[in-house]
């Protein structure tokens, strides 16, 4: 086998990577565009004026605040539920194990529009008014699997003899949990939590069904996409979102680099 890739393969591979990244780079360029009426390319002039304009916008700040609070609660719930499920499924064999596994995956395997409409009709039937918590419930549901994936991968790589050794040395289950299992699990949980946070912060499809009149950052963005009113401010917000989501994703990658592949969905 040759150890060098052919030119054709190299070209096709890097073209694919370029295809994935040119649009993101373009967003950054547009944030500095001085043109505010159309999407003309190349921008006629560059300015940082719109960053200041976006900074002064109350509606944008409120949307960011709501999204951050929702993501924090959804992540907290997902970390608890995902870790418990991982603890149950990592090694034990029991009747219905496959069914539980399927139930965990279902919220991201089914189209978001189905999850959204199901939750909305359930709220409606039970006469629950839309609130902060109706959004959180929807987000937590599909975030569980992300935490679960990371935690279960780490638990399967952790040797069970560590736990036995801890017990043999006289620790009880809680001490073993606190001093042996949790330190092993820590970075995987942090990575899963970060990804869950990024997922929730960005979610729009389920949110449109469970938010009522509330505006999360993605919903603000969606309104601008359908009816553009303030293009320059939208450009700046888009760059801010890219920045905000890259941080947790890269951090999660660094944390799980050791156990290869567990950061994949």
């Amino acid at each position: 086998m040759r150890n060098e890739a052919s030119w054709g393969l190299r070209l096709a591979a890097w073209a694919g990577i370029l295809f994935l990244h040119v649009p993101l780079a373009l967003i950054v360029l547009y944030a500095f565009s001085a043109e505010d009426k159309s999407y003309v390319f190349p921008p006629p002039a560059l300015t940082t004026h719109w960053f200041a304009a976006a900074w002064a916008r109350d509606d944008v700040w409120q949307a960011i605040g709501l999204s951050l609070r929702v993501a924090a609660w959804a992540t907290a719930i997902a970390v608890v539920l995902g870790t418990l499920a991982a603890g149950a499924l990592a090694r034990a064999q029991f009747f219905g194990r496959e069914a539980v596994n399927l139930l965990l995956i279902l919220p991201i395997a089914l189209p978001g529009v189905v999850t959204g409409i199901a939750l909305r009709s359930a709220y409606h039937t039970m006469e629950i008014p839309f609130s902060f918590w109706t959004i959180v419930i929807g987000h937590a549901t599909f975030c569980v699997v992300v935490v679960f994936n990371n935690a279960v991968a780490r638990l399967r790589r952790t040797s069970p003899s560590l736990i036995e050794a801890s017990m043999d040395l006289g620790a009880d289950s809680f001490q073993t949990l606190r001093h042996v299992i949790l330190p092993q699990l820590g970075s995987a949980l942090l990575a899963g939590g970060l990804l869950a946070f990024a997922l929730s912060f960005d979610e729009v499809i389920v949110t449109t069904f469970t938010a009522g009149q509330q505006t999360t950052l993605p919903i603000w963005m969606l309104q601008e996409l359908i009816r553009p009113r303030q293009r320059p401010v939208t450009n700046v917000v888009a760059v801010v979102i890219i920045g905000l989501t890259f941080v947790p994703i890269l951090a999660a990658y660094m944390l799980t680099r050791a156990d290869e592949g567990s950061a994949q969905r």
């Binding site: 086998m1 040759r2 890739a5 393969l9 190299r10 096709a12 591979a13 694919g16 990577i17 295809f19 994935l20 990244h21 993101l24 373009l26 967003i27 999407y39 390319f41 190349p42 608890v80 539920l81 418990l84 499920a85 034990a92 539980v100 139930l103 965990l104 919220p107 089914l110 189209p111 529009v113 999850t115 409409i117 199901a118 939750l119 009709s121 419930i137 937590a140 569980v144 009880d172 289950s173 809680f174 990804l195 990024a198 960005d202 729009v204 499809i205 993605p218 963005m221 969606l222 996409l225 359908i226 888009a238 979102i241 890219i242 989501t245 994703i249 890269l250 990658y253 680099r257 994949q264």
Partner: protein, 309 residues
């Protein structure tokens, strides 16, 4: 003799759990099962039940009587059109993702080493996790009539080529951002990372000795690719295609922002429950992608896709 201290209450709970793994398992499982089983599965089943209800003609309220009328209405030509259009789009998007994604995955798995490999991995993973709406917005900028793609074609003196593509029936329109070709490009862009990662994982797992053996037995590089690598990468391709297929079927935002105004399944479901207020019909229509995906999953399972997830 060593004095054994009397066990504290915590210790007793601990011993109890250690002695009964089933109790521990139940304790671990109950909270996630309550959440997903009651809130999520409960909502899904309620939705399913709604599909068998109808609307009262006078009040517009949901009438809780068993009827199959929604499913009969699904067979109306307009609705069949929507389903066929969406499934066709999903199939084409999946094929395009395989063609574009395979070389990237192959290069990542076989040739990239060290920092270059880490960089490539991040380069594929970042778009996968970064904002869906921002990436969609980027394409609105790119595909606009005055946007970067038109500019590029004009600079290369290929404006006529773009014009003639846009003049084609069905896929064309007066600008890329209002054409079905635009919708297709954006779908491919959005789901491409979901295809690359599982293919890469499956190629990564092929032992190098297999490829050496194929070469030693006289196969040219192309033959090895076709007869050894492709069949072994098949589970990865199938796994990736589950994502590209199912995500395309359920999406209602991309065709709303980029494309001509023909409807896809997700949009019909969204409109029926929202503007039209016809939850029962929306519920029945949302069973279409679920049924298609279930059939697809069954097929993918036979191809061994779940070993590569």
């Amino acid at each position: 003799m060593l004095a054994v201290p009397a066990p504290g209450p915590l210790r007793r709970v601990s011993d109890l759990l250690y002695g009964r793994p089933a109790a521990l398992l139940a304790l671990l499982l109950v909270p996630p099962l309550l959440w997903l089983g009651v809130i999520y599965l409960g909502s899904l089943l309620a939705l399913l039940a709604n599909a068998f209800f109808g609307l009262d003609d006078f009040t517009g309220q949901v009438r809780r009587e068993f009827t199959l009328a929604n499913f009969v209405e699904l067979l109306a030509p307009a609705n069949v059109d929507v389903a066929v259009r969406t499934v066709t789009m999903a199939v084409l998007v999946t094929l395009a993702c395989v063609v574009l994604g395979f070389p990237v995955a192959y290069y990542m798995a076989r040739y990239a080493r060290g920092p270059a490999k880490a960089l490539l991995y991040i380069a594929v993973m970042l778009p996968l996790w970064s904002s869906y709406l921002v990436r969609l917005y980027a394409w609105k900028l790119l595909l606009a009539k005055e946007g970067a793609i038109s500019w590029l074609f004009a600079e290369l003196h290929l404006g006529w080529l773009l014009e003639s593509v846009l003049a084609l029936p069905v896929v064309g329109a007066n600008s890329l951002s209002f054409s079905r070709l635009g919708t297709f490009i954006v779908f491919v862009y959005m789901w491409l990372p979901f295809m690359i990662l599982p293919i890469q994982a499956s190629i990564e797992r092929i032992p190098a000795s297999l490829l050496e053996a194929s070469g030693d037995l006289g196969a040219a590089a192309g033959t090895t690719l076709r007869r050894v690598i492709l069949p072994l990468a098949m589970p990865g391709i199938a796994a990736g295609s589950i994502f590209t297929f199912s995500l395309t079927l359920g999406d209602y935002i991309i065709p709303q922002v980029i494309g001509d105004s023909t409807l896809f399944i997700g949009q019909v479901v969204y409109r029926q429950q929202g503007v039209a207020g016809n939850l029962p019909f929306a519920a029945a229509f949302s069973l279409v992608p679920i049924a298609v995906i279930a059939a697809y999953l069954w097929l993918a399972k036979r191809l061994g896709a779940f070993d590569a997830l």
